[in-house]
Amino acid sequence: MSNDSNLHGKPEIVTGHEVHHDEHHVHHHKETFITKYVFSQDHKTIGKQFLITGIAWAIIGGLFSVLFRLQLGFPDQTFPILETFFGRYAKGGQIQPEFYYALITMHGTVLVFFVLTAGLSGTFANLLIPLQCGARDMASPFLNMLSYWFFFMASVVMVSSLFVSTGPASGGWTSYPPLSALGDANQGSKIGTDLWLIAMALFVVSSLLGGLNYISTILNMRTKGMSMTRLPLTIWALFFTAILGVLSFPVLLSGFILLLFDRNLGTSFYLSDIFVSQTGQALPNEGGSAILYQHLFWFLGHPEVYIIILPSMGIVSEVLAVNSRKPIFGYMAMVGSLFAITILAFLVWAHHMFVTGLNPFLGSIFVLLTLLIAVPSAIKVFNWLTTLWRGNIRFTPATLFSIGFVSLFISGGLTGVFLGNSTIDIHLHDTKFIVAHFHIVMGVASFFGMFAGVYHWFPKMFGRYLNSTLGFIHFWVTMAGAYLIFWPMHYEGLAGVPRRYLDLSGWHNFNKFGELNKMITVVSIIVFAVQLMFIFNFFYSIFKGRKVRHQNPWGANTLEWTTPIRPGHGNWTGEIPEVHRWAYDYGKDGREFIPQTEPIGKGEGHH
């Protein structure tokens, strides 16, 4: 499709092609099933593709965690059913160590990258950027489509790695060499790791294509009147997310390529002085640095955690404002803190490396910068709290998940203050404490943002509502479950229990959390079951949910609610509306909400 019509300031030039779509969902004569649902260039469809692929991955990643939690909670018990499914990996109904490590590696990779990066940014950047900026589609719908299909290819390669005879990668989601470089030292570092690296390379391509598109769309294709400071915070958050990704993913890719070279071409970027006991052989490689990889990895790795959390922050800001019927408090401070986080996110990576032998002085600089990042984080929390204060709050499932997000972000952010202080990190590094920290602040919190987004924009995506009773059950079980699982885990970490240990029975000082681990496993299974219920609700409601009858069901100000209930490709049937105000005039001058499209009235107060 031609994009000229989308250019800022020229909404009046609308090609006939686009206007034809109307509420009754008439198929355009040129659209076939393939172009509409498979190789679609409509940003809304691509968003749904990302979401549904993300859901598929979330089921896989979640199931893996249930499997390895079984091992952790019941290390002495056998589960014959596992042997039925996984054969020698679960010999005698017990998860074998290689299998355990493959499971946690895949669990981490899948959830961090495939679900919370592609599934989250991919879904909401695609859905919301054109709709909330007032554009008919992305800057390049074609590259946008490629972005999804690269992600799909990455998924295919990653799935195929699960079935190779030596098993998938098993060196952790961080895949540090030399472990990930030496097939002789680790089963999973045979072909499984090559496939892992290839899948990740494809993933990086997908993420770059998407990110460049998001950035250029936001900068160039806003509708008339939509200045940057009138953008909803969702768009700001997605904008900074894309910048983080575009600037840091290439560094990760270079790190992966060097690793591929070391693995297959005999180079020594990361390898030096290695004697592999399994083969009794000393390797010829000398002069490489294993730590170099960690720098390259964490130069993405830390921004990555913000790539995961920022979209959720944006969604939560929007959902809380809409449902408190109040403007988001401190809009400029919210944008400013997003900006500060983005800058600082590039300057703290070595806090993951305090105990690698890093120069202590360098370490102290990273302590300073790391704890600095807590300031903008704190500002955001206070602003969310003030947004709720004296509001008139409607508890939709989306609102509840947003409140849950804030609670989790506080809890997990505060434990970050422990870890960022290198002195304390000496004790806590690579223990269960870290696992608790990042699951709360990144894993569960971002999922909460994602859920909030799905519940809030489901009506826009599918023209129907999700069942909200199931939504409430989903929220309450997940919220209670998240704290039950991860809060006590901090104590294990304080006791020094290392992460990535599948059995503590051989350890005098660590083997005292048996009961706790049982409890955690049982709760995990319940929480997993409730997620399946959500997924059922999702698919059931696409076809059978209550129909949306009102164009603007939540009474929101943003532009996506000015489109038809089921918008076609091109989003608006007539001209793209013009914007006259910021997105947060809720409760102003005695009116419940004033859409962005409404001109400023005479004598109306300025915010």
């Binding site: 589960f79 160590p97 490590y101 060196g171 952790g172 540090y176 030292a185 390898l271 290695i274 006991s277 002069g287 640095s289 294993a290 408190s324 403007p327 988001i328 809009y331 401070a333 105990v355 690698t356 032998g357 202590p360 600095l372 300031v375 704190a378 500002i379 206070f382 602003n383 709290l385 003030t386 204060w389 004296r390 509001g391 008139n392 709050i393 508890f395 409140i403 804030v406 506080i410 809890s411 203050v417 202080n421 002195t423 304390i424 000496i426 009773t469 409430f472 309450w476 809060w487 104590y491 304080l494 290392p498 051989g506 005098h508 000082n509 005292k512 079951a529 809720y586 409760g587 915010h607």
Partner: protein, 346 residues
């Protein structure tokens, strides 16, 4: 069978839930959506309050249940500093935690939708925003200050009189080398590693400093005497984790690292203190290193100087094991000269 049962129960529970959920949607339509919505709104607001209260009780209960299982007193002088820092941070973050969580849930409950109230249009307030930028900034600066102060103390150079132990990790075991009487480690080169020839660390036998180096699989150190660990790895990255001493350092192939600390209690004292007759200091591998990672355990014995000397003397240098043909007497004189050389090197 059991698994099958669990799945059956879950499926059944799900079916019932789903039916209820669907019905409630119809009932809502019948009774008037607005009314039903307001009622669920009140229920959810109430649940948020309950969650806060239950959560706070839960935090207390969890702490009561688990506090006996964590930490214990740090067994090294450096560890004390780490614990102090930990408790300072716990106090600061604890205050913030309770204030913000209580406000969050309380606001949510208090400002639930009501016909009596209109939301207050409050888009920004510079004074407030400056206050809550500055306060965290000050608190964090203080934490950074303390943290870096301790950090430099802990990571600074080891004292001159520290004893030295070389720690080498490999899949999936730890090996320790003591420099012997000369106090100097002989050179090694990884290509010389050959466990079958009794050279597990790749010592270069033509380096005379190697003649008296002792290689062993248990670490002995002396109470109240600083010990400096020189850490390396033969294959992949491992990590020397000493939870009781609050110490940790990666073992990286090709790049030796160091760490030092001063143990405060002998193993025997710890047995008495903890009332646990089986107490041992354990060395855990804290960096994923392959399928045996979780079992890569070492034992550390802290003892008095005399006990340590007695123990060390009873051990045979690795050189002997690698050169069984040579009688111990032959190396003895050579060793004294080395000792002189070593002293001169200092």
């Amino acid at each position: 069978m059991q698994t099958f049962f669990v799945i059956l129960i879950l499926a059944f529970g799900f079916l019932i839930t789903f039916q209820i959920a669907k019905t409630s949607e119809y009932v809502a339509v019948l009774r008037g959506e607005e009314k039903a919505r307001k009622q669920t709104n009140r229920i959810n607001a109430f649940l948020l309050l309950i969650f806060l209260i239950a959560g706070l009780i839960g935090v207390y209960y969890c702490n009561e249940r688990l506090k006996g299982k964590i930490l214990g007193e740090a067994a090294s002088i450096q560890g004390e500093k780490i614990d102090t820092m930990l408790y300072i941070t716990l106090a600061v973050t604890g205050i913030v935690f309770f204030i913000t969580q209580i406000l969050l849930f309380w606001f949510a409950f208090k400002y639930q939708e009501s016909d009596q109230r209109k939301a207050y249009y409050f888009p920004h307030n510079n004074k407030l925003e400056i206050i809550w930028t500055v306060i965290p900034a000050i608190a964090l600066t203080a934490l950074v200050g303390f943290g870096i102060y301790y950090w430099f103390k802990i990571t600074g150079d080891a004292p001159q009189d520290a004893m030295q132990v070389e720690v080498t990790g490999s899949q999936f075991k730890w090996e320790f080398r003591y420099p012997g009487k000369d106090g100097i480690f002989g050179k090694k080169y990884y290509k010389q590693i050959d466990p079958e020839k009794n050279n597990p660390l790749g010592q270069l036998w033509d380096d005379p400093y190697n003649r008296d180096d002792i290689v062993i699989n248990e670490m002995h150190i002396v109470v109240n005497k600083p010990v400096k660990l020189i850490i390396g790895s033969k294959d992949v990255i491992h990590d020397v984790g000493l939870a009781q001493f609050r110490m940790k350092m990666d073992a990286v192939p090709g790049t030796p690292t160091t760490m030092w600390f001063t143990p405060k209690y002998t193993t025997r004292q710890m047995i008495e203190k903890s009332g646990d007759p089986d107490f041992v200091y354990e060395l855990s591998c804290d960096q994923l290193c392959g399928k045996g990672h979780y079992s890569m355990r070492g034992v550390v014995i802290v003892e008095t100087q005399e006990e340590f000397d007695r123990w060390l003397i009873s051990k045979q240098p690795q050189y002997m094991a690698a050169h069984p043909a040579q009688a111990p007497q032959k190396t003895q004189p050579a060793d004294t000269t080395k000792r002189v050389a070593a002293n001169m090197n200092k």
